[in-house]
Assembly symmetry: C2
Homo-oligomer: 374 residues x 2
């Protein structure tokens, strides 16, 4: 019953592990590309897999509104719908209700809101979110929580977190346990250490299959985020996976892995890929910049993605200036490849007990910048 | 010297052949996907090749304006720039000058026009078009011609065609003959049989490596187009490839192959793929239509493209309704696959001397429509 999680090694607080689901295993630390509306934007599923990604994230909010979770269920579930045979984690919809919907009204039992697509009135509750994720066929289901606004006072963050904890308990009751499928709880509490610990205790008492840390990377800054992780992670059960939601830039991920996080998701690599940004070991490049227009070099020497093996920066610059879809396709692929390469590097360094050195090298390279640029 | 062309078989007027260029061979009859600005829109080059396409078309007009032919030349030519190792045919820019540019002024020596991108003043002449195509590295270079407006009187079409013939002669002089590279002339003359024959004679006297038929599929209708082909094709040298420019829908291509055409290009499959249209053996589907939203079937059973092997019509409908890039990617791939499958079918039928039967079956299926639709 539930998803399996084996710890394969440690280096300091960092862990190597294997998450086992009904649709296969995931080597951790892992980065999950975001497949918002049933597609990792601008990528064929086979291309996502080719980058090394083993699990993708689906969005309950988007899919319930369009095409509808019942429809996805009738069509065989999200795996078949989007042709992704591997594991899928779905979020609960809580974050998007807060960030995308209109006329939100929160009550003790859930949230009523207007669809950002057609203005229709919709409702999500701790129970209905679980039910929708079940219809989608998620390997990992997330508890429905209230996304605490940032900034929030201690009293606001406390009230929001305690509501989410009551909802977490209801979601646990609603979740139908099945072998290979799991339910994760989400630690809230804003930037307040005491609230984060209270939340971690509450969730541990309920007993989830994994523990997420929510409400970070919302503007608090990397230092504060790492401080919250330093305080929170030790309060989570060591034998269960830990997932930092919505994070982040490569350096955020590296720092969080060092603090014991196993799973990540973020729109950063895909969204950046559609806005001419490329992530590299030497920092970020904006391919729209005119300095690339005659540059025959690839984005990154040694990168296995088709943007780097097949094309110059000059060509990518041309595609972007010409608003060609292929520009978004190639940069998205590159960024997802880079994120997976970072995760592979982290896993290898943990296995080799050389994480500190690896991270020092990573930071040094990132700081160096693209000094060889034309 | 020049491109090779071997006739491998005939069935009536239809021909099987092999076009040999500096970058490889092309089995004819062949359809060339259009790579306007150095990219077959929404397709990786490897995916274009995976459909069976052996040659793509590049647009002189687009590439001279952005990123500039000299730049493409400095970066190693169009093959390297777009990472297409196979043969490339470039058009001369004449058609796009007429259809896209502003403030055109035609004189006996060329055309002065304003770029549709930045308003800059540009000029193309029979000689400079050849030079630009040389900078791009085209395997097949097209003569620069005036695109005769439609409709045009006999006198207008005659004057336009004769100007193009004078330009064709200048282009031939400007073209540097090299082994594996060829220059094609373009028959003009509008819908007038006598002018088409005069044009064919003029080009044959100059002696080109292949002969294109231009100025069709501009609104004259399929019957008129086929009539022009019936009149013109017999006047072209049998031992050289024949290229019908900018054509067309599958039924146009099938009819033109029966009339002895060897090469085709058209934006139809790629443009349709970005506007929710799918071509199939049973006619066309508009995937935006609500009737597809619960349909678990692929676009076409038996099609090898990733849209058909991996996804339902319901999923494609969802992608289109959600404005997802993947929708354009999958439908473009499908349409290019279908066009290549049609060409493969035609080549097989000519080889088997069964073209009439194959075409009867094709027409019957197309007329049948998607009767099994939900």
């Amino acid at each position: 019953m539930t998803v399996g999680f084996s710890l394969l090694g440690r280096d300091g607080e960092a862990r190597r592990g294997l998450l086992e689901t009904a649709h296969g295993g995931v080597d951790t630390p892992a980065f999950m590309p975001v497949g918002t509306a049933g597609t990792v934007k601008a990528m064929l599923p086979a291309s996502v897999a080719a980058t090394g990604a083993q699990i993708v994230l689906g969005n309950t909010y988007h899919l319930m509104l369009r095409p509808g979770a019942e429809r996805v269920g009738r069509l065989g579930g999200l795996h078949r719908f989007m042709n992704w045979p591997g594991p899928i984690l779905t979020d609960s919809g809580g974050f998007q209700v807060m960030s995308l919907s209109k006329l939100r009204r929160i009550d003790p039992d859930g949230v009523t809101f207007q669809s950002h697509i057609d203005g229709s009135t919709q409702r999500l509750t701790p129970q209905s979110s679980i039910e929708i994720q079940h219809q989608l066929g998620a390997d990992v289901t997330m508890s429905f929580d209230e996304c605490t606004p940032f900034p929030a006072t201690h009293a606001e963050a406390a009230a929001s977190m305690r509501l989410s904890m009551r909802w977490a308990a209801r979601g646990k009751t609603a979740f139908a346990a099945r072998a290979g499928y799991g339910l994760f709880g989400i630690v809230q509490g804003g930037v307040y250490e005491d609230l984060r610990l209270e939340s971690a205790r509450a969730l541990t008492d309920i007993a989830f299959d994994g523990y997420a840390i929510g409400g970070l990377a919302v503007g608090e800054g990397q230092d504060v985020m790492f401080h919250v992780l330093d305080a929170t992670v030790p309060a989570l059960p060591a034998d269960r996976p830990r997932y930092l939601m919505g994070v982040g830039r490569p350096a955020d991920i590296v720092g969080a892995v060092r603090r014991g996080i196993d799973l990540f998701d973020c729109v950063m690599p895909t969204r950046a890929g559609r806005t001419a940004q490329a992530f590299t070991w030497r920092g970020e490049l904006n391919l729209r910049n005119a300095r690339h227009r005659d540059d025959p070099r690839p984005i990154s020497e040694g990168c296995a993605c088709p943007a780097c093996t097949g094309h110059s920066r000059a060509y990518l610059h041309h595609l972007i200036r010409s608003d060609e879809i292929l520009g978004a396709m190639l940069l998205t692929w590159h960024n997802l490849q880079f994120y997976q390469d970072v995760m592979r590097g982290l896993r290898g360094a943990i296995a080799a007990q050389s994480l500190a050195d690896w991270c020092a090298g990573f930071d040094e390279q990132q700081a160096m910048g693209d000094i060889a640029a034309v």
